[in-house]
Symmetry: D3
Subunit: 225 residues, 6 copies
């Protein structure tokens, strides 16, 4: 059994790659890697306009018990994002402003948690963004261990330690660490192409033409009345 | 079967009527037309303080396929609102910033979609409001047709092309095109009456008296202890 | 049967105690009273950054009928919070800007309702905060009575008239009136202790040490790799 | 306003057509009419293995008030199905064994209700099937009117009085009255074709061949490894 | 704090009263006590056709921890029903066939749990009925205490130890212990009256007449077309 | 990209191991492998009392498109279980009686699908069990490919091709193929131990003693009143 395991050394993507992905945002990165990697849409930011990317430090926690998050904080490095999933569905408030202070002191860029969070006003004031399933103050205990930096399933998607987490107002996307450079390149190409299209569309050109979607319409039986 | 049908000419309400309804807002318009026309309460704005009205261009789309939205964009006129419903429940991100650029170039005032939307930060920056069931980046394909400007059921309510859509922080309300002038008149009367009541209530008069609700209390067995 | 009952005199906590609890917020108060008293996490504020406390005036209402809220408004005193629960699940819009004007004229500090609310933009402009299950414009009738100032179950938690309601961005917490002074004292102690810990954590000390959580790790089989 | 309206004469489909649709069931009928007409999947039967079809007598009811169902019972004829939708979301128990006794005395074949039902054990013992959103005993009042035999939106789908309701373990499907004979014919053809395919499939022939789906696989880039 | 408290002596209603309520069932009992006492409609039986009543032994449990249920089993007497609520929302499988064997050995009649249950096939084979929020095998730990026989909030409703729990296919209803004899009497009267009405309705008399609901229709503006 | 990929050769666990796991059931197997592997609790059987185990043939499908299931059927061997997950949330009816006929002809033991299913009455009559998120007749198209026998995430849990699926009235559990023999052994030991305990508990021994849970109660502050 893996309960109690803490993996201390994990591989991380290059910081320049991570920063590049942050600029591009969730929707573009998701498309660039073949429409994969999204966490479930119930994962919402606690405040608007945060946009981050970072290396996942993964935490598996028992329901209603945040002891292992304390253990995980010690494993954080500059540029990391905490990714927390309970072993069964839970909406308790595992994380609040004190843990955020500690996380920020280690250079952590934010939290992704398939459970609840509290002190959301203070977290916004501190500039520590969180994507969560719930906002809920329910306190947690420190009675049982979980695991740090083993692969977890978070909001329906696998996250391995060191994977790149991209998160913004649209939600959360995971990029496999080993694919990060390729995905960044593909995402930049996509963005460049989109920029061209944006200009054409703003000038009033039909999206059917800009995206080359008109030709097949007749084959599929379009019927303009 | 209607798949592939695009109705190009639709009747719209007079622009002055539409603008009048926008000013009055969802709650007042809903009351003025006899407490009908609301879309389900899960339809939420992606950002606060937008308040619009416009003529519905309706789009029926397959799950996970936004080809027909591209077709619909070409049918938009100044003052329209896109109203999109999938043929089965779906939360994919059918619409993002590029489609919004194109919609705005045609004078479209916003989107109502019983599914997901993405690029929500950019949409707010552009001032293109959306009411949706979900915020989700999941990409869609362009493989199958749907229909444009046929009546649809959106979030539990029928919407015919040309109906007036009123949307604000409270949600979305549909006004049948042919009733729009009458509803506007009734809504204005209601607002005027409410203004009088507001003054009385602000001065401390009891709402039971202002709304004439005290008389029947005894008949119904009120029991003050 | 209690239908129609309106209790006019209720005990309230001292205003200084209520104000003290407002400053401390939901998460701290919840912890200070032994992790009890939270309403369900689906109770969300209609706008961010409101933080209030007040004495509960409780209202039990039939589904889709807000007559009893009008009756309750007359029972409000300076510093009260309206707490409304329907007798069966309902998301209708029981409360809007006119009722808020009347409530504010009586000194009411906000509304907690296990149902829907409307005119949310106007409520924010007026500075009248609401925590609700839904934002929905659906109008209500005035045909049947309920009860005012009897104990109710609201969003899964018992609320007695005069209990102290604390509400902020994290949700809603109920403090039994008779416990309010003790809870305030405990909450202040907790906050003081947290302040010390915040300084240590900001300086980079490990949370495992600051919270004295490291010692038992070995007993529980922690395994650093 | 339509509140209080009771339409007493409605057109119904021929009984032989209705019976034919009952035999074919929801999935086949839904396919035969072009994949339309399904009510939302949350509409579930209270007991298994009922399979009915009948002519819709539609009822619009206020939340928590079943007076109008009593009015509707008087409008039932042999072979009808009651279709009930509240004007806002509600899970109260509008209908129980006494109303079922009365409905059966009129020849009613079942109930479809976008709300709650009670006495479900007795209903099964009586052989009166119900498709509902909830099983819930919450009692309803008789204080406000609704409408009988006007078009309603039930579980996301429009139902007009006299439309044919088909319901079985798979859910509920609505067939427009005027289309019923054509849909029956198409459904029978579909069933005959399926019967042939069933024989081939049972004999072990590949479904890719039986449904002629293999040819396009290569074009779409299938890659057998 | 009440954590760890086990109240060993509780008052129970007379067994004859409890048995009487079991025969009448949830819907009738709920009506007879003024339409109160229902647990939320998501509390469903794991198998059909069980109908029980018993005295509540209440258990408050931490999320994911069933230690306190073991403690509670020792407090069970002949004719009791276990009522379990977690201190925050949880769907873990707190209870399975071994605990049922132990419960039955003490004369316990069933379980009501606002969480998950497992071994449901075995429970049906043993004839031990359960009403729960979920069927889920997720195992629980034995690390923290809760409380036995203190008042709890279960599925939105207060339950005190010794209250009478009535449960059947329609859900779960709580009768305050002190009211049980009065409620039984009222429920029997109601059932007798319903029996008379059943005969009239079966004979084809209109429910509007049998329930005396026709008179007020005209006042409310009924409009037969 | 993996779209279109069909892996034809997969490793499977030994049939005797698979059969052994079927007899033990979901709850026991889940416990025996350290409380892991459960699919979400919303995955429910379409009829009661089925209990199966088999080797997973995994299918990733686009929303509303079941073409790839036809492709997967050809890859089925005696003793397999189809495991299907859409690439975004979907409740459409991907699978019905014809596909079940074909699956059974190949020796398939059942279907696990994080989406909808139809023809549920026929499936029960055929004895082909299904665990699904929804029962819904909504038809699907055959326009886009997915993947067969690549690892998928289904209802929150990773499933690799060849993993052992155990499913019964309690839900669905996944056993990693390589762990299956060890898990079977552990599960059998657990069952044997439970059998001993069952006898003690049936004889009236306290579960606190049988499970050796009484000793630590005092340390944790139990307080018998």
């Amino acid at each position: 059994m893996s309960t109690g395991t803490v993996v201390q050394k994990i591989e991380r993507a290059e910081q320049s790659v991570v920063s590049g992905l942050a600029e591009l945002g969730v929707a573009t990165v998701h498309e660039a890697q073949g429409r994969t990697g999204l966490l479930a849409s119930y994962m919402r930011p606690i405040y608007r306009r945060a946009r981050i990317a970072g290396s996942a430090v993964t935490v598996s926690v028992p329901p209603g018990d945040n002891w292992m998050i304390h253990v995980a904080l010690e494993q954080l490095s500059e540029g990391d994002v905490l990714v927390v999933a309970p072993t069964s569905p839970c909406s308790d408030g595992y994380f609040g402003d004190l843990l955020a202070v500690s996380s920020m002191a280690k250079g952590c860029r934010g939290l992704v948690i398939d459970a609840g969070v509290r002190d959301t006003r203070e977290l916004e004031d501190m500039g520590f963004p969180v994507w969560s399933k719930a906002v809920f103050s329910q306190g947690t205990i420190k009675a049982s261990l979980g695991a740090v930096n083993l692969p977890i399933s978070c909001a329906g998607t696998e996250v391995a330690p060191g994977d790149v987490i991209v998160a913004d107002d649209d939600g959360v996307c995971v990029v496999k660490r080993e694919n990060a450079p390729t995905v960044l390149e593909a995402a930049r190409k996509r963005e460049a192409m989109e920029e061209e299209k944006r200009t054409l569309l703003a000038a009033g050109e039909a999206s059917l033409d800009v995206f080359n979607l008109r030709g097949r319409l007749a084959d599929h039986g379009i019927n303009y009345i």
